[in-house]
């Protein structure tokens, strides 16, 4: 994808067909860099690059968050309450 195609040359029908396949292509982990449509379509190149950026950012930026320390005490207390209720 080193070439920079002219967006004006993009054929909407080809783009639509390519994009219709994208969920399956991306979901299957296929290497799209040599896909014939991408070589000549700056619009779809940009789309794919942005989607890859989003997926990568999600993996790197949205780390698990630590819950508040007191939450376990609340859960423990609720568990004991349930146990007492069911024992009665």
């Amino acid at each position: 994808m080193s070439a920079t195609p002219d967006p004006a040359n993009a054929n909407p029908a080809d783009c639509a067909a390519f994009q219709a396949q994208l969920p399956e292509l991306i979901g299957s982990g296929a290497d799209l860099s040599s896909h014939p449509h991408l070589a000549g379509c700056a619009l779809c190149q940009a789309l794919l690059a942005d989607l890859e950026t989003i997926a990568e950012a999600a993996r790197q930026l949205l780390a698990p968050v630590e819950p508040p320390d007191q939450l376990w005490k609340q859960i423990e207390s609720a568990i004991r309450e349930e146990e007492q209720t069911s024992a009665e």
Binding site: A58, L62, Q74, I75
Partner: protein
Amino acid sequence: MSSTEQPDHLESASALPVPALAGEQEGGVAPAADPVLQRAQAGDHQAFAELYARHKRRIYSLCLRMVGNSAEAEDLTQEAFLQLHRKISTFRGDSAFSTWLHRLTVNVVLMQLRRKGLQLISLDEAMEPGGPEDGPGRSFGGADPILAGTLDRLTLEHAVADLPTGYRLIFLLHDVEGYEHNEIATLLDCSVGNSKSQLHKARLRLREILRRPASEEAQP
């Protein structure tokens, strides 16, 4: 939609089955292989506390990002672990424990969302075919990839929070939690193709949100 695919929505999510206890075949880890889990199943409080410590971050994060506020996320996390405590003795190891626990948590979250009417609507909308992203060329935006190098955590968190609930759920499970499509299909009781399709639409919607000018985001 092919005849073999399930409907492209999540109506069944209103009553997602209780975590499968015997029907799942893939990736199972027998409880006996994990002594902590085995002890927790036998009623050992210390072992249950250890399970909480192992899983609390992923469970709380999923709840927090799904509902968007910490108080509600704490309530949901508590409910998930209470349910886990009630049901843990029935876990037989037919699936990975973490998958089982996540499925239970997703059930808890979806039940809560369905109690709150507005989110319920967006969940169904997000899972129905024929949405605005389905049109050819709808997702072009522009010829330049503009997101690379510009995304920070807060921007992405806000954009994810703006997603319709159904999209947000799929996106969080796959791109953040690292679930495979077959696992999500099991979790959400939908087809693998549906999971791929919804994830793609979620990313397209995120792209739209992230490409919006800041001035437009400031509008009420």
